[in-house]
C-alpha cells in the first residue's frame, strides 16, 4: 500500500512538472530556442504572485488571473526584443542570451527579495489540507488541483494549436518560416505569441510550486529547469502530452526513489532520464522526424 501511495503522489506531482515543461517544449518546437531562463521565469511568476497578493489582497488561488497575463506580456516583449535579436544571429546565440537572462533574473531577485525562501498561501485550508483513502493513501487537495490544472492547460493548448487560426499559424511557422513569410505571416509576431503562452504556463507552474513548496531566487535553475528538461526529454521533444507523460514518469521515479532511501529521490529521477536518453533519445512520444 505504501507503494501505491507513492505512485499516486508521483503521478500527481507529474502535473506540476508538466506545467514547467510544456512551455519549454513549445518554445523549442516553434522557434528552436532552448530557454535556459525558463526555470527562473517560473520563480519570477511566484514572486510576482507574492507582490500581487500583498498589494491587491487577491486570494492566493486567484492570483494567476493577474500574474499569468503579466508574464505573457513579458514573454511577448522579451521574445520580440532580446530573444529575437539573438535568433537573428544564430540559434547558438539564443543559448548564451537565455543563460544571461537566467543570471540577470537570479541576481535581480536576490537583490530585491533577498535569499530567504518565500511560499504562497500557507494559511489557506484548501492548500494545506488533504483527504485519505483507506489508511495508507493520503492525497493533498493542492496536488490534485495542480494535476487537474495541468490537464486543463494541456487540453486548452491542444485546442488552441489544432483548432484556432493562430494555432495553425504557429504550427505553420514551426514547419517552415520562409514559406510562412511567403503567405504573408510575420513569424516574429507568431514567435511572440508562442513565447507569451510559454511564459504564461510556466508562471502558472511557478505559482503552483510556491503553494506546494517554497522557493528562493536560485530554485529556478537548481530545481525547476532540470525537472522541466527531464520531463521534456522523457516525454519527447515537441510533444504536448509527452510533457505530462514525462512529468508523471519523473514524479513516480522520484517517489519510488525516495521510498528506497531519502537521498535517492532525485537520483532515481535522473537515472530514468538518462535511461530514456540512451535507449530512446526521441522520447516516449516521438514527434515526426522532420522537426
Amino acid at each position: 500500500m505504501v507503494w501505491v501511495n507513492d505512485i499516486i503522489q508521483g503521478i500527481l506531482i507529474g502535473g506540476l512538472y508538466a506545467l514547467f515543461a510544456c512551455g519549454l517544449s513549445l518554445m523549442f518546437g516553434v522557434m528552436k530556442v532552448v530557454n535556459l531562463a525558463h526555470g527562473d521565469l517560473a520563480i519570477v511568476g511566484g514572486y510576482v504572485a507574492v507582490g500581487v497578493i500583498t498589494v491587491t489582497h487577491i486570494p492566493v488561488l486567484w492570483s494567476f488571473v493577474i500574474v499569468v497575463p503579466l508574464m505573457a506580456v513579458l514573454g511577448y516583449v522579451l521574445q520580440r526584443t532580446v530573444i529575437q535579436a539573438a535568433l537573428d544571429r544564430s540559434i547558438l546565440t539564443t543559448l548564451l542570451v537565455t543563460f544571461g537572462l537566467s543570471v540577470v533574473i537570479e541576481n535581480g531577485l536576490l537583490e530585491f527579495f533577498s535569499a530567504n525562501s518565500h511560499s504562497l498561501g500557507v494559511n489557506n485550508a484548501i492548500i494545506t489540507s488533504s483527504f485519505s483513502i483507506g489508511s495508507q493513501i493520503t492525497i493533498a487537495y493542492l496536488l490534485l488541483l495542480i494535476f487537474v490544472v495541468a490537464v486543463v492547460v494541456l487540453l486548452g493548448l491542444q485546442y488552441f494549436l489544432y483548432r484556432s487560426r493562430y494555432g495553425r499559424l504557429i504550427r505553420a511557422v514551426a514547419d517552415d518560416q520562409e514559406a510562412a513569410q511567403l503567405s504573408g505571416i510575420d513569424y516574429r509576431h507568431v514567435f511572440g505569441i508562442a513565447a507569451a503562452i510559454a511564459f504564461g504556463t510556466v508562471a502558472l507552474g511557478g505559482i503552483a510550486y510556491g503553494m506546494y513548496s517554497q522557493f528562493a531566487p536560485t530554485t529556478g535553475t537548481d530545481t525547476i529547469l532540470l525537472f522541466a528538461f527531464a520531463a521534456v526529454v522523457i516525454g519527447g521533444l515537441g510533444s504536448l502530452w509527452g510533457t505530462l507523460l514525462g512529468g508523471v514518469i519523473l514524479g513516480v521515479s522520484q517517489a519510488i526513489g525516495a521510498q528506497i532511501s531519502g537521498s535517492d529521490e532525485f537520483l532515481a529521477g535522473y537515472i530514468v532520464f538518462l535511461a530514456v536518453l540512451v535507449l530512446r533519445p526521441q522520447g516516449l512520444i516521438a514527434r515526426r522526424a522532420q522537426s
Binding site: G184, R288, S291
Partner: protein, 253 residues
C-alpha cells in the same frame, strides 16, 4: 488588356540593375526586367544561373546588394517579405515548401489567412484540382510530388496575388505531371494574374511564355518574345556559346 500592355502601359513589376551576393559569390549581376500585367514572363537558364535567387529576391527572402525592385509603381526593395506577400506578390517556392505537419486544407487556410480580396477561395482551388477536396484532411507529407506542387500552387492562389512567382514547377516531377500542371496555367491566368516563372525545362517555358529572358552565371544573355528567338539563339544563350547576340536593350520602348 493584352492590347494595353503592347502600347506602353505601366509594368506591374520592374527590376532594375539587381545585384545579389551569396557571401563572396555574385549570384546576380545587374539584372533588369519589366513584367507587364497579364504576361507570362519566363526566366530560363541552367543550374546556378541565378534564377531562383532572382525570384527569392523579388519575394524579399534575399537582400540585394544593389538595384531596386518596384511593384505596382512603388519601391519595395527594403520591404519585408510578408508585407510584399500581403500586398499581392505570391510565390510558389522551389521544392514546394509545404507545411508538412499540416493537412492539405490547413495549408490552404494558412495561405488564405492574410489574403487580399479576389476571385480565389479554397473552394475554387478544389474545383481547379478536382482530387484535392477528397484528400483535404491528409497531411501533405503523404502526397506525391505532383500533388504537393498542386497544393503549393493553391496555397499561393488563395492569397489572391496580382503577381505569381513560380520557381521551378517541374523540379523532380515526371514529365506527364509537369504537362498537367502547366496545363492549368491558362485557367489561372484567366483570373487576371501576372506570372513570372523560372524554369530549367526550356521547351516547357517556351510553350507557355509571352516573354523570355535567359540567364547565365547571373547575367542576362538573351531576351525577347518566344516567337522572335530561334532555338539556336536560345541554346547559345543557355549554354553560353559564342554566337549569342547580346539581347541588351533590344526591346521595344
Amino acid at each position: 488588356m493584352s492590347e494595353a500592355q503592347e502600347s506602353g502601359s505601366e509594368p506591374i513589376l520592374e527590376v532594375r540593375d539587381l545585384t545579389v551576393h551569396h557571401g563572396q559569390l555574385r549570384a546576380l549581376d545587374h539584372i533588369s526586367l519589366r513584367v507587364f500585367p497579364g504576361e507570362v514572363y519566363a526566366i530560363i537558364g541552367a543550374n546556378g544561373a541565378g534564377k531562383s535567387t532572382l525570384l527569392r529576391t523579388i519575394a524579399g527572402l534575399n537582400q540585394p546588394t544593389e538595384g531596386t525592385i518596384r511593384y505596382d509603381g512603388k519601391d519595395v526593395t527594403r520591404i519585408r517579405p510578408e508585407r510584399r506577400a500581403t500586398s499581392g506578390i505570391a510565390m510558389v517556392p522551389e521544392g514546394r515548401r509545404l507545411f508538412g505537419s499540416l493537412t492539405v486544407e490547413e495549408n490552404l487556410q494558412v495561405g488564405a489567412t492574410y489574403a487580399r480580396t479576389g476571385p480565389w477561395t479554397i473552394e475554387r482551388v478544389y474545383e481547379l484540382f478536382s482530387w484535392m477536396k477528397d484528400r483535404r484532411a491528409q497531411r501533405t507529407e503523404q502526397l506525391s510530388g505532383g500533388e504537393q506542387q498542386a497544393v503549393a500552387i493553391g496555397r499561393a492562389l488563395v492569397a489572391n496575388p496580382r503577381v505569381l512567382l513560380l520557381d521551378e514547377l517541374s523540379l523532380g516531377l515526371a514529365p506527364v505531371v509537369v504537362q498537367r500542371i502547366y496545363g492549368m496555367l491558362p485557367q489561372i491566368l484567366a483570373s487576371g494574374l501576372t506570372v513570372l516563372l523560372v524554369e530549367q525545362d526550356v521547351s516547357q517555358a517556351l510553350r507557355v511564355a509571352s516573354h523570355l529572358q535567359c540567364l547565365l552565371e547571373g547575367r542576362t544573355t538573351l531576351e525577347g518574345k518566344p516567337s522572335d528567338v530561334t532555338p539556336e539563339e536560345v541554346e547559345a544563350a543557355y549554354f553560353g556559346l559564342r554566337t549569342a547576340p547580346a539581347g541588351e536593350g533590344s526591346e521595344e520602348p
